[in-house]
Symmetry: C2
Subunit: 599 residues, 2 copies
Amino acid sequence: MDNRLINRRDLAFQLYEVLEVQALTQRARYADHSRETFEAAIDTALRIALDHFASHNRKADEQEPRFDGERVHLIPEVAQALKAFCDAGLMAAARDYDQGGMQLPVTVAQALLALFNAANVSTAAYPFLTIANANLIAAFGSEEQRRLYLPPLLDGRFLGTMALTEPQAGSSLADLRTSAVPDGPGRYRITGNKIYISAGDHDLSENIIHLVLARLRGAPPGVRGISLFIVPKYLLNEDGSLAERNDVTLAGLLHKMGYRGTTSTVLNFGERGGAVGYLVGEANQGLRYMFHMMNEARIGVGLGAAMLGLTGYLHALAYARERLQGRPPGAKDPAAPPVRIIEHADVRRMLLAQKAAVEGAVALCLYAARLVDDQQSAPAPAQREEARMLLEVLTPVVKAWPSEYCLRANALAIQVHGGAGYTRDFPVEQFYRDNRLNPIHEGTNGIQGLDLLGRKLALEDGKPFALLLARLGDGARAAVAQPALQTHGEALARAAQRLASVSELLRGTLTTDPAQALANASVYLEATGHVVIAWMWLRQALVALAALPGASAGDGDFYRGKLAACQYFFRYELPEVHTRFDLLASLDRTCLDMDERGF
Amino acid sequence: MDNRLINRRDLAFQLYEVLEVQALTQRARYADHSRETFEAAIDTALRIALDHFASHNRKADEQEPRFDGERVHLIPEVAQALKAFCDAGLMAAARDYDQGGMQLPVTVAQALLALFNAANVSTAAYPFLTIANANLIAAFGSEEQRRLYLPPLLDGRFLGTMALTEPQAGSSLADLRTSAVPDGPGRYRITGNKIYISAGDHDLSENIIHLVLARLRGAPPGVRGISLFIVPKYLLNEDGSLAERNDVTLAGLLHKMGYRGTTSTVLNFGERGGAVGYLVGEANQGLRYMFHMMNEARIGVGLGAAMLGLTGYLHALAYARERLQGRPPGAKDPAAPPVRIIEHADVRRMLLAQKAAVEGAVALCLYAARLVDDQQSAPAPAQREEARMLLEVLTPVVKAWPSEYCLRANALAIQVHGGAGYTRDFPVEQFYRDNRLNPIHEGTNGIQGLDLLGRKLALEDGKPFALLLARLGDGARAAVAQPALQTHGEALARAAQRLASVSELLRGTLTTDPAQALANASVYLEATGHVVIAWMWLRQALVALAALPGASAGDGDFYRGKLAACQYFFRYELPEVHTRFDLLASLDRTCLDMDERGF
């Protein structure tokens, strides 16, 4: 099972060989750490992920949370998994020592938390939402709020939610209607309805801390009038003990295609006069606070999608190595024994496609996490600033590309299994259902396209985007300098030049005709994503190529596999960007002009 | 609901305007028919599909068939639906009058049966398998077999299966092991295990007639030694009444991601001495008989996939027309009312992508059905022969392209719904799960690629393939002659020329290095599919363009929608074939050479 959850060799490659996270231990904040402490933390996480999360992944899918009208019931394994997770201190993996944390670099913390997505994405959602919730309170809450809420959130006694979406507004946060009226100092009464609130109710913890976006009476319309409130399910006494039930009601559970173990709830706030809520930070800054966390949340979504793709790939690989069926072309003698299906070129194609997608996606997401580390703790201010800018422009790609292409990888994992993969006797169909959420939540991929093209391209006078182009150029040049990678480097350089010229055209069009410029934002996002992933593959290939001479036999196989997957991406995937850039360069209006009566 | 199941206007367009099925009534066999009788049959089918099939589509998904160790239990609606289907004579829609049939052309029969796939694919599987079973017995069974089995199969008292797959063999039919030993004249004892047998057990009918592939003792190895047997669950007396239970045991039900209402079974034949089976036709001809039906079965798979894509698209369209959310680019005033999401270009893109895929797929599958009609009843022998050849080469495309691209359409239908589409409160997630089977069964899409490139390309000295190329050229020229379609016509001509030159290269390589030639068979299949679908879009566009002057307002909208979807396909989809042809022309060995130690 272990080797179908993650590829430990690849994780070490990404962390230590490509991203060189061991260098982070030279920074004061991580001075107590070493590769050994990182590996020990990953060992712990992997053991808990296997023993307590993977072990009930199918059961949590089959026995969905149930609402009896009073309480929500989950299978007991979820609470046991949470306890093991919290007992190991994982809730505070990235937090400071003085908050009881492990003070791990973000890159390492994200990598080890990601293991839980591979093991059981629906149970992992409970602690992950709580970590995000606690991060927000830690960053923007008052001292009192931090004193009251952080300790029980970090030890798992309380769990948290993010209550953004409303039925009438969906992705359009400008249309949020939930209202807040003052009810004493720092205290408000909240009234409104929220939908798709993950972990919005359950029987896993003593209390549930909702972070709710709502409007103060008289606040400006749109996104500038949204504030953030702490709304606990049970109010707290001064000493942190539970007081009375707050006016938050579970209107019902939503039943989903996948991710079934995570409750998805409709919550009514203020059916009996108003739920008590506490303003976080300043009024009307709620969306800014939320988006501060959203960027990391979007890395989490991308990495989660990548991990579901990865475990699907590893299951398909194990199956293809064992399953006997058919014979190679030309070997038609039916008396000859059948071969393992991995010997069929088309099965190898499906495995390479998965490998290229999921390892490319993992590389991108961990690269983004590494940028968060640099943004937070790089010694030079210029390095911190560059990391911040790259993150701004890469975030929509980090969210969208893995959620699209690692879902496709999950479809291929089913295909490698044939009929078996379509049955629930094998886990790949569940990965596929679970992963289908990722292109939707935390900002649909359509919205990521609008963010990349409509906001990030021209952000700060285009500096962040120019920085990305420069890094792509650096990556291409480094590859061109190596004969074995020269062709790929040239291909990346051409693709990056196309991206630059098309982006310039679109940036101009944005000012003259935004509807025209944004009409193919999704195509732009997808093409940009492919260029970025090509760069990620060259980064890996350069490391593999350099390490190959003198590598052990096992490492040699691994590095050659990296070079082969890189070649796959450059031959089978990257060329598609040119047809997409052609379309974008033509400022095609087919979709924009489509008359709806013609559908 | 009606207008979310199918688009009746489009069906009429495909049947009467593009395929001109009314011309078939000039053939003696269909002389009693007219457009009116076709429409009346479709009316009947649509009413039954809505009232008796669509009505329990979700329930059949939620309440799966259950095996209590003795019997298999299904929800009662399935039997009621079957009764309505049989009572309306639909089981014999394409059969002769003297067999109690409607004697409808294959094209019309396929079109009206396809409605049941849109309504409820898992319940439809029971009659569809029975129709295929009956067709096989009608074509190859003895007079006695036809007398005994056809009447109860055609009136639904008996239902049928196709028992091909075995656990150890999977797609590799050469490795079938189920054995048959003589036990009296025409009578055999069958022993072996079959898996993934759809409708292999249930409580819907008095009897179940299995058509089983098995080997006679001493038969040649491989596919040349396979015979076909009728193996009823209950043996029949001379007068057709039920006699004792045969030695066929249900070992268990398989539980699937979708298609849940159709039982998928593991069957053991001969646990108590051998199941009684009756040889169909001649010994060792079983696979030939089965493949005679398989070509039509593969049209059925393609059309079924297209219909699931179609109903998903129509649901997404209805949702996009009603759901209010967000504002167009530039209209940032949050006080302005939100717009229907169909007004967003990216939503229109997702709808156009679905329309282009599903209407292109429907056009292809009905075109193939029309070829079956021509093969069977065209007046001129040359026309029958041409239809046969085109069918040979198109069949793998007809099976594979819709099953891949209409599944992608289902993914987009979910995406248009956003979070709602991921819940089971909307049907699109079920369409997506149901449709995921289609790339797998009736020959995986990987096998379709091997069939197209490895068999069909060089079949009959390449004549069928040359005929397809000629037809593509004709289609391109017809479009070039119309100024409004000239660009598309030229694009199709270029794509078809690429297909021709790459195919010539691969055909040569097939003889020198089959492993090399077949390494990218799936890529070849996908590129060929795109070229064929582009042709199907030009066929539709030519008809729409010609009908536009003087069309009613509603028809005008419809025809302009066709032209827009055609344009979408030519601008967003067709250009991708050139990167695929580049790859194929390079005889890329990345997948073939991949060392499995590198995964």
